[in-house]
Amino acid sequence: MSRPSSRKVRIVLQGREPDDPLALLSAVKAAFNPREIEITGNFDSEIHDRVGEAVPNELLETQAAAEAKSVLDQLAQAVADHSRLVPDQQGLVPSDPGSIVKQRRSISGWLKQKFVAGWAVTVYSATRGATAAMLDRAE
């Protein structure tokens, strides 16, 4: 299940509304770090030598960012359209526990599928300053 990787993608997402509770970002982070998935492998033998400096792939960055932005904007627009029809349902209302469980299960399933296919996904939350400092170090 372990495959060598010479490419890394880093995505930084933030709340669409800065007033939304921080705890919601933490809830997202928690769902992408499920207990039942453990990274395994014989790291002594499987870590490959780094080959030179990491070089940005700007074309892929642009395409991936455009795709992610597009899908999130579409989702936001769909919610905004729905809110116009149903004014009292504008967000900040947690869904029923069943919806939360279902979405967490989707995430868990997606992660398993990715790990089995040889991808490694690491999710964490950070302040903007910490992320910027990390990105500076990476450059």
């Binding site: 372990s2 495959r3 060598p4 990787s5 010479s6 490419r7 890394k8 993608v9 880093r10 995505i11 930084v12 997402l13 933030q14 709340g15 669409r16 007033d19 939304d20 509770p21 705890a23 933490s26 809830a27 997202v28 982070k29 769902a31 992408f32 998935i37 990274i39 492998g41 030598d49 030179g52 400096e53 990491a54 940005p56 792939n57 892929l60 395409q63 991936a64 960012a65 795709e67 992610a68 899908v71 349902q89 967000g91 209302v93 947690p94 526990p97 939360i100 967490r104 989707s106 995430i107 992660l111 990715k114 790990f115 040889g118 490694a120 999710v123 964490y124 939350s125 302040t127 903007r128």
Partner: protein, 277 residues
């Protein structure tokens, strides 16, 4: 008072009564999930006090860190509540202190039950659950911090709701993810401590925004190691899937969605990836 308002109040009253009975479902939860509910009580009720250490110690316990030291925080908190109660007694008549003590005594009742919840004895655990239910109802019904507190809970006097939502979510997660008594519970799965109730959006929104720590200046970072031989199209599809899933979860927890700040792709590094069991 309009008949419409009366009717709404009556319905809410009936709903609350029915839901209070539901608190007894706490007994069916795994023990660390029960501890998580007590931690949640502290997270909400102690945030304007100097006793948030109690919340952190309980979070550690719920998260499976059995080395977490509860007692030093508990002793300080007990002393604090007793001092408040003393200030509220005649001849001092400090009413603010008295009301705060009433709510915080409920918190103390919950926290005092934690050793019972962690006990191997079924009877002691059941007694612990009864004590937590009593404490939660005390926090909710008796004011949860007094009339001058800034908690959304007092001002609306519907304090039982957030705990019922937490309980429902814990029950659903425990069932779906097959938690055992020893399954560590990450407090983050409970979402925002304060949420807009289902029935009165506009009235609650301001309180929710005020009482939760805002997300501003914070972000979610995902790093994905792409296995060699993967096409660019598959990378793009993976980025989109991640964004959709993260956004969807943010929204079901009551958030208003996520947006992309940056996407970076690097080539030229060689590391092993993957592996699951």
């Amino acid at each position: 008072m309009s008949s419409d308002h009366y009717e709404k109040s009556r319905k809410r009253g009936e709903y609350i009564q029915a839901r209070e009975r539901h608190l007894s479902a706490l007994k069916g939860l795994p023990r660390l999930a029960q501890v998580a509910l007590v931690a949640r009580v502290c997270q909400r009720e102690l945030r304007h006090t100097k006793h948030m250490g109690l919340f952190h110690a309980l979070s550690d316990l719920a998260g499976g860190n059995h080395g977490s030291r509860l007692e030093p925080h508990l002793s300080l908190f007990r002393k604090y509540v007793e001092e408040l109660e003393e200030r509220g007694r005649e001849p001092h008549d400090d009413y603010e202190a008295m009301w705060r003590a009433v709510g915080l005594r409920g918190v103390l009742t919950c926290v005092d039950a934690v050793p019972l919840l962690l006990s191997p004895s079924t009877e002691r655990r059941a007694a612990g659950c009864d004590q937590v239910v009593k404490g939660v109802k005390g926090v909710a019904e008796q004011g949860g911090g007094g009339p001058n507190s800034s908690t959304i809970i007092n001002e609306h006097f519907w304090g039982i709701f957030p705990y019922l939502r937490d309980l429902d979510l814990l029950i659903a997660l425990a069932e779906s993810e097959q938690w055992s008594d020893d399954t560590a519970v990450d407090m983050d799965v409970l979402g925002a401590p304060f949420s807009v109730a289902e029935y009165d959006l506009k009235a609650w929104e301001a309180y929710v925004l005020r009482d939760n720590e805002p997300t501003k200046g914070n972000e979610i970072v995902v790093e994905i190691d792409v296995p060699d031989g993967t096409s660019d199209e598959e990378v793009i599809r993976t980025v989109r899937e991640f964004a959709e899933l993260a956004d969807g979860l943010h929204r079901v927890y009551g958030g208003r969605g996520l947006e992309v700040r940056t996407v970076e792709c690097f080539v030229g590094m060689s590391v092993a990836t993957g592996g699951a069991r």
